[in-house]
C-alpha cells in the first residue's frame, strides 16, 4: 500500500508531468476564452444570453471542415469560417435578436434554446451523423520537445491564439473608440445612450465579433476534438460557467473564468477522475456563493 502511494505521488508530483498538464489546461482555457468572451461582453451590454452560442461554435467547425476539405488549406478555413459565422450572426440579429432585446431572460434563453435544436438538425442534414476531423496544418502537425517530453505543437498554437485574441481584444477595448463606447455601454447603458453614443450599433458589432470568435473556436478545436453533431452541447455548459464565474460583461473576467475552468477540469481529470465531472459545477457554486456577481463583475451588484 505504502509503495503504491509513493509511486502514485511520484508520478503525479513529477514536475514535467505537472507542466504538461498545465499546458493542457491552458489549451482548454484558450478554447473556453474564445467561446465565452463574446457571450460575456454581449451579456454585459444588453443583458442578452445566447444559448445558441455553442451551435455557432459547431457550425464554425463544420464550415471549417468543408473549406479545409475543399481547398486543402486549414488556414483558409480558419479565416473563412469565422467570417461566415459572423455574417450568419448578423442575419440572426436582424431577424430575431433585435426584437428579443426587451424580452425577459427566460424568453431570450428559450428562443435560443429552440435554435440549438434547429442547428443540430441542420448540421445532421448537411454533414450527416458521423464524426469528422480536420487535420492540423502542416506547419503545426509535428511535436516539439518540451522539458524532455514530446508535446504536439498544434496545442501550443491554440494556447498562443488564445493569448493573441485576449491581447487584441484588450487593446481594442481600452484603446479604440468602439472599445470606449462598449465600455461606456456596459458601465451604464442609459447614460451612454443619452450622451448620444450608438449602443445599438456597438451591440451589433460586438455580437457579430463574439459569434465570429465562437466560429473561430470551432475551427481551432476541430484538429484536437472531433467534429460531430452535439459537440456544441458538451462545451456550452462549460462556456456558460466561465461567463458566470468570471462576471458577465467583463473581458478579464472571461479570461480568468476560462483559466480557472480549464485548470480545474484538466487537473480534476488527472487527480480525481471519479469526481472530475462534478468539480467545475461545485467550483461555480462556491464562487457564486462567495461572490454572487462573479469574480470580476463590471458593475457592483
Amino acid at each position: 500500500m505504502q509503495n503504491v502511494v509513493t509511486e502514485v505521488s511520484q508520478v503525479f508530483l513529477d514536475p514535467t508531468f505537472l507542466a504538461i498538464q498545465f499546458l493542457n489546461g491552458l489549451q482548454l482555457a484558450s478554447l473556453l476564452f474564445l467561446l465565452s468572451v463574446g457571450l460575456s461582453v454581449v451579456y454585459g451590454l444588453m443583458n442578452f444570453i445566447n444559448l445558441a452560442h455553442g451551435t455557432l461554435y459547431m457550425l464554425g467547425a463544420y464550415i471549417g471542415l468543408s473549406v479545409a476539405r475543399g481547398s486543402g488549406s486549414f488556414w483558409l478555413a480558419l479565416i473563412v469560417a469565422p467570417i461566415f459565422i459572423a455574417a450568419l450572426a448578423a442575419v440572426f440579429h436582424a431577424l430575431l435578436l433585435r426584437r428579443m432585446q426587451a424580452a425577459s431572460p427566460m424568453k431570450q434563453i428559450l428562443v435560443t434554446f429552440g435554435l440549438i435544436y434547429v442547428g443540430l438538425d441542420v448540421v445532421r442534414y448537411i454533414w450527416g451523423d458521423y464524426s469528422h476531423s480536420i487535420p492540423a496544418p502542416d506547419f503545426f502537425a509535428g511535436s516539439v520537445h518540451l522539458l524532455g517530453e514530446v508535446y504536439p505543437s498544434y496545442r501550443l498554437f491554440m494556447i498562443g491564439l488564445g493569448w493573441f485574441v485576449f491581447i487584441a481584444l484588450y487593446y481594442g477595448l481600452e484603446r479604440t473608440r468602439l472599445g470606449a463606447v462598449v465600455r461606456a455601454g456596459v458601465d451604464n447603458r442609459e447614460v451612454a445612450m443619452s450622451l448620444g453614443l450608438n449602443i445599438e450599433l456597438a451591440f451589433f458589432l460586438v455580437f457579430c465579433l463574439g459569434c465570429g470568435l465562437a466560429g473561430l473556436a470551432g475551427v481551432v478545436a476541430a484538429p484536437v476534438l472531433s467534429v460531430y453533431p452535439g459537440m456544441d452541447m458538451s462545451i456550452l455548459v462549460l462556456t456558460l460557467i466561465v461567463v458566470v464565474i468570471g462576471g458577465p460583461g467583463s473581458l478579464r473576467g472571461a479570461a480568468l473564468g476560462a483559466f480557472l475552468i480549464g485548470m480545474f477540469e484538466t487537473f480534476g481529470q488527472v487527480f480525481f477522475p471519479a469526481i472530475a465531472s462534478v468539480i467545475v459545477y461545485a467550483l461555480m457554486a462556491v464562487i457564486l456563493l462567495a461572490r454572487p456577481g462573479g469574480l470580476l463583475p463590471v458593475r457592483p451588484s
Partner: protein
C-alpha cells in the same frame, strides 16, 4: 374578488381538460394509453415547474435534477434496495425535496440570469454524477423498476389502460394541491414576489424563505413525476437529467400559458403529441420542434390558457 374569478376560470379550464383526458382515455388503444400516461406525467412535471417559474418568478433550467432524482431514487430503492413501493414513492419525493432544500438555500439568493445559470449547473452536476455512477448503471441507466401495486383496490398497474388512468388521477390530485397552494395567502405572497420583489421586501416579507419553500414544494412534485416516469418506463437513464429536459419543460409551460397551472398541463399534451407526430414523419423532427419552440416563445403570449380565456369570455358574452 378578481383572484376568485380567475381561479374559477382556471378550475373550469381544468375540468374541460380532465374531460378531454377521460374521453381520450376511453377511446385510446394500447399505444394511446402509453401516450396518455406520458402526457399526464409531463403535466405533473410542468405544473410543478409553473409553481416556481410562473408564480414565483424563479426560472429554473435545472428542474430535471429533481425529476431525475425522483426517478433514480425510485429505481434505486425499489430494484436495488428492494423496498416496497408504498415506501419508495414518498421517499423518492422527499429525496427530491431534500436536494432542493440544499440547493435552494443558496440558489434563492441569486436573481435573474444567475439563478438560471446556477440551476443549470446543479442540474448538470446531478447528471454528471448519474452518468459516472456505477451504482446507478452509468450511462446505461438502471432497468427493472417495478410499478406500484394497487391490486388490493382492483387496479392492475401493469395494464396500460389502468396505468394511464392512474397517472391522470395523480395529475388531477397534484393540480388540486397546487391550485390550493397558489390560491392560499402563501401563494398570494409568491405572486407578489414575482410582481414586485422590492415592494414585498419593503413590506417586511422574508422573500428568500418564501422562495425556498416554493422551490422545495416544486421539487417534491417534480420528484413524483420522476418516480412515475421510472415506473412507466421500468427504466431510468441519465437522459432524464439532461438540461434539455428542463428546457423542454419550460417550453411546455410557455405553450400552455405561464402562471396558469392548468395551462402547462394542456401544454404537456401538445408537446407529447407534436413530438410523437413529428418524429414519425421525419428523421429531422428536432429541426421542426426547434422552430416550433422559437415561434411559441415569440408569439404565444399567454399560451393556450390565454386562448381559452378569450374563448370563454366570448362565449359568456354571447350567452348574456
Amino acid at each position: 374578488m378578481v383572484k376568485q374569478k380567475s381561479s374559477r376560470n382556471r378550475n373550469v379550464a381544468a375540468a374541460v381538460l380532465l374531460l378531454l383526458a377521460i374521453v381520450s382515455w376511453s377511446q385510446a388503444d394500447l399505444f394511446g394509453h402509453e401516450l396518455l400516461a406520458q402526457i399526464a406525467i409531463l403535466a405533473i412535471f410542468a405544473m410543478s415547474l409553473d409553481l416556481i417559474a410562473g408564480y414565483t418568478g424563479l426560472v429554473s433550467l435545472g428542474h430535471a435534477a429533481f425529476y431525475g432524482v425522483g426517478a433514480y431514487a425510485t429505481a434505486g430503492l425499489a430494484s436495488v434496495a428492494g423496498w416496497p413501493m408504498w415506501a419508495v414513492v414518498p421517499s423518492a419525493m422527499l429525496l427530491s425535496a431534500l436536494l432542493a432544500a440544499a440547493v435552494g438555500l443558496f440558489a434563492v439568493r441569486l436573481i435573474g440570469v444567475f439563478f438560471i445559470m446556477i440551476t443549470l449547473a446543479i442540474g448538470e452536476l446531478v447528471h454528471a454524477f448519474a452518468f459516472r455512477s456505477r451504482t446507478f448503471g452509468g450511462d446505461d441507466g438502471l432497468g427493472g423498476v417495478p410499478r406500484s401495486n394497487l391490486d388490493a383496490i382492483g387496479i392492475n398497474l401493469l395494464d396500460p389502460a389502468h396505468f394511464s388512468l392512474f397517472t391522470v388521477i395523480i395529475a388531477v390530485l397534484v393540480y388540486l394541491v397546487l391550485a390550493r397552494v397558489v390560491d392560499s395567502p402563501f401563494g398570494q405572497v409568491l405572486t407578489g414576489i414575482h410582481q414586485n420583489e422590492l415592494r414585498m421586501r419593503a413590506l417586511g416579507c422574508p422573500i428568500r424563505r418564501y422562495k425556498l419553500v416554493a422551490f422545495v414544494l416544486s421539487a417534491l412534485f417534480a420528484g413524483l413525476a420522476g418516480s412515475l416516469t421510472a415506473q412507466h418506463n421500468n427504466f431510468v437513464s441519465p437522459e432524464l437529467l439532461t438540461w434539455t429536459t428542463s428546457g423542454e419543460a419550460l417550453i411546455v409551460v410557455i405553450i400552455g400559458g405561464i402562471g396558469s397551472l392548468v395551462g402547462p398541463a394542456a401544454g404537456a399534451s401538445v408537446f407529447v403529441m407534436l413530438s410523437h407526430q413529428l418524429s414519425s414523419l421525419t428523421d429531422y423532427w428536432m429541426f421542426f420542434m426547434g422552430l416550433f419552440f422559437v415561434i411559441v416563445v415569440l408569439f404565444a403570449g399567454d399560451g393556450l390558457y390565454g386562448l381559452f380565456g378569450r374563448l370563454f369570455r366570448m362565449l359568456s358574452n354571447v350567452g348574456r
